[in-house]
């Protein structure tokens, strides 16, 4: 264990440490940015399915609205992804 600590200390120079921190931050940004839309899409789709099961004659309108809702929610994940590629890919 002590040897590993020494190796790590020897291997890390400030530039590498900065890169590593940026990569870790970017990974967190992408992961956290994907969680919110995941919850949001689940909620949107769940409610839409409920509406379609109750009222199948309105399914076309509900599906259109659901599709747009999913796409708008997904934009948040894409923003997180873009931050990820700009910071740490």
């Amino acid at each position: 264990m002590e040897a590993l600590i020494h190796i790590a200390a020897a291997a890390v120079d400030p530039a590498d440490a900065k890169k590593a921190n940026a990569a870790i931050g970017a990974g967190f940004a992408y992961g956290l940015a994907a969680i919110g839309p995941g919850i949001g899409i689940g909620y949107v789709v769940g409610k839409a399915i409920e509406a379609m099961a109750r009222q199948p004659e309105a399914a076309g309108m509900v599906r259109t609205t659901m599709f747009l809702g999913i796409a708008f929610t997904e934009a948040l994940a894409l923003i997180g992804f873009v931050v990820f590629i700009l910071l740490g890919l």
Partner: protein, 155 residues
Amino acid sequence: MSNESVSPMMTRLEGDAPEIQVSLDILKRGILVTPIIVAVCSVFAGMDGAISAVYAIAIVLINFLFAAGLMAVTARISLGLMMGAALFGYLLRLGLIFLAVFLVRDTSWISLGALGGTIIITHLGLLVWELKYISISLTYPGLKPSARKSPTNQR
């Protein structure tokens, strides 16, 4: 309206898929705006920016088409499967977008700024543009607004 309880697992939706129509509309508009976005990116990032912008627009449009196709196919099987396809499709599409960018990240022609900016702007811009037409015709045919009959448009 029926008060009977309907199982989402057994219910399926026949007929035309509105998602496909919406995504084809988005595709048409995406093709229309591609030259403008490419021109803007080429001003900021040169040829690399232009190529990256085309790649980003292709990612966004294929993402829309893939999402719509997945939902249209699964809706014909069952609503429960459509829900699963929407949720796992989200993960799958994010993974595919990641893969598409990861594969080209070290190529000489890529400009990550132009690629990322184009992905966000194209995705949101096309959605807002589409939303304008969807919201106008959402109540079709009963309450579709008419330009001639509108009281605010009697000039």
